[in-house]
Amino acid sequence: MDALLFLTFATIAVACAINLVLQTHPIASALSLVGVMGSLAVLYLLLGGEFIAAVQVIVYAGAIMVLFVFVIMLLNAAAEKKTKKPALRAVVAVPLLFTFLMLVAYLIQTQVPKGPGVQFGGFSGGSPADIGRALFTTYILPFEITSVVILIAILGAVVLARKEV
């Protein structure tokens, strides 16, 4: 059952991700991204990460995607212009991408079930209480430093967006 659900939603996630890159219209890409986020939430749920799954839907599929769409609307993205890319890049890139994907798929297929970290159904530390405890004990320092990272991002936005200089 786990495997079936995993394969279904993993396929949807990958298909949406590929669609995201292929679409020429930004809004269509953004909607594909919602598909990726949604199927990822299901994958988290399969792994026993209830809290992460909920956050994935609320924060990523909800808030952040709304922001993306807003920005796209505000910038009023113009029609895409085709640029000439070196032919070599296209010839090399696509086979390399597929090689990479196949390698990943092969590795996950053959190796992952043996690892102790990720196991379907074998994990039960994903409740909000568990996450909260981890955040405020073991991971308190990275948690706090993350707020510094956000502060830097705000500061950087101010620097790069100001009028003068």
Partner: protein
């Protein structure tokens, strides 16, 4: 309430440099309205970094872990903390006058610089992959903005955008590698990963583990500008404001190497037989690409960028040895490189003048006549970059290649030495232009160096020569600190 919820006083002491700098960086924005002269803020940042060096030394008196193994204070940490803080201080000295001339001196610049250094300090002191990643992001995001700081200058914007896009991409690879590592080992603590691998449990998923290590290598190699992920460096160093290029080539690079060494030689040391060939190839490619591409450059910032790639290659040789002597040699080398490269960039900043109009190698013409002292000091830096005896660069290269020979990397040593010979050509070309060519006609007046630039040039020159004449002190400390706690 469990006892471990409240960190002890010594745990706070171990991260006191970061706490101090974060507070100063945050206060900087409030303080801006209090001081009409922005230079005061630079002075505050300078003093804060000096105090942070003091705190690092104090923390060194009480080594150990803090915050559930996130931070580990040992000799290695202290060495690199002092190195990045000192780099930051020299960057402030170099940039104050530069920014004033560009009418861009502001609290934001100093705040971003201080935050960037907080990130590097966390990178070098962290013993945990999540903490390393967040430290790296702290440093990276601040440096993306610093690279594009002078927004009106198109070269700045180009540098910032390229750096940001490629940097984010590389970080994503690193994070993917971390996720895989966690998936295999069930932990992100470097020592715990090592225990897991030593226990032989990794053998079942050996292939997956190698893939994880390879993904992390992509991220690290990008940050240290090692081949084949070095393409960003020339564009970024050429486009960014000169003091920022100096900073990027010294501070973040040293910090990135520190975390690269720690991760490779702690967590992944048990499987070193697998990754050594990869590093061997990367080290060689980095040296060759850096040195041969530098031969053709006419822009001096771009030339120094390729030279910085080449020097990253030498440090990669030290990493390939995967030994304690190699680590000590790399520590010494990074300190010497920071000194000589900051010095060279300081002279470039000075000669470039307002708006960076004079950044070609030919603009150095006649510098020996117009400002003999500056020309002489730049010659010292360039000789040190070549690796001439009696300079820090010589002992740096000497110890690295000695460590490589000890580790039986004979071919890498031979090819590395041939590379250094090639490098002599493009460094000496600058010296020749300075001493043999008359100043170009119609060249604007070159003022004498500002106080900040002068102090930077003299201080780095003294450091370069001291490391070349009396390498013992730094080398002893590096040698004692090179063994990682496992």
């Amino acid at each position: 309430m469990p006892a471990n919820l409240v960190p002890s006083a010594s745990e706070f002491l171990r991260i006191s440099p970061e706490i101090l700098l974060t507070l100063v960086g945050t206060l900087m924005m409030t303080l801006e309205s209090m001081f009409s002269r922005k230079r005061t803020l630079g002075v505050i940042a300078f003093i804060a970094l000096l105090a942070a060096i003091g705190l690092s030394v104090a923390a060194h008196g009480d080594p150990g872990e803090a915050f559930h193994g996130m931070i580990r204070v040992d000799g290695f940490t202290t060495f690199f903390r002092i190195l990045v803080f000192a780099t930051g201080m020299l960057t402030i000295l170099m940039s104050a006058n530069y920014l004033e001339k560009a009418h861009a001196e502001s609290a934001e610049f100093y705040a971003l610089l201080v935050f960037c250094i907080v990130g590097q300090s966390l990178m070098v002191s962290s013993n945990e992959l999540i903490m390393i990643f967040i430290g790296l992001e702290t440093s990276s995001i601040a440096s993306y903005v610093l690279a594009g700081y002078l927004r009106a200058d198109r070269r700045n914007s180009e540098a910032a955008l390229k750096y940001f896009l490629l940097g984010s991409f590389a970080t994503a690879f690193l994070l993917y590698g971390v996720a895989w590592t966690y998936g295999i080992t069930g932990t992100t603590n470097l020592s715990a990963i090592r225990q897991f691998l030593l226990g032989g449990q990794g053998s079942e998923s050996a292939l997956l583990l190698l893939a994880a290590a390879a993904l992390m290598f992509v991220g690290f190699a990008f940050k240290v500008s090692a081949a084949p992920f070095q393409m960003w460096a020339p564009d970024v160093y050429q486009g960014a404001p000169a003091p920022v290029s100096a900073f990027l080539s010294a501070g973040p690079k040293a910090a990135a190497f520190a975390m690269f060494f720690r991760v490779a030689l702690t967590a992944f040391e048990p499987i070193k037989g697998n990754w050594e060939p990869l590093l061997w190839a990367s080290a060689l490619a980095t040296m060759v690409i850096g040195n041969f591409a530098a031969l053709r450059q006419t822009n001096i910032k771009r030339l120094l960028a390729y030279s910085s790639i080449a020097h990253a290659g030498y440090v990669m040789v030290a990493l390939t040895t995967a030994s304690e002597t190699g680590t000590a040699a790399a520590m010494f080398y990074l300190a010497a490189y920071a000194a000589m490269n900051l010095g060279a960039f300081a002279v470039v900043t000075h000669v470039a003048r307002r708006g960076e109009r004079y950044v070609e190698v030919n603009d150095m013409a006649g510098l020996s006549i117009r400002q003999p002292a500056t020309a002489a000091l730049l010659t010292i830096f360039l000789l040190s970059l070549i690796g001439v005896p009696l300079t820090g660069g010589f002992f740096g290269k000497f110890y690295i290649f000695k460590a490589a020979l000890d580790a039986n990397l004979v071919w890498l040593t031979v090819l590395g030495l041939l590379n250094s010979a090639v490098a002599a050509y493009y460094y000496l070309r600058i010296v020749v232009v300075m001493y043999m060519q008359p100043p170009a006609e119609g060249d604007t007046v070159l003022e004498s160096p500002s106080a900040g630039i002068a102090v930077t040039i003299w201080a780095t020159a003294v450091a370069t020569v001291l490391l070349g004449v009396l390498p013992g002190f730094v080398l002893d400390f590096a040698g004692r600190s090179a063994g990682f706690a496992r």
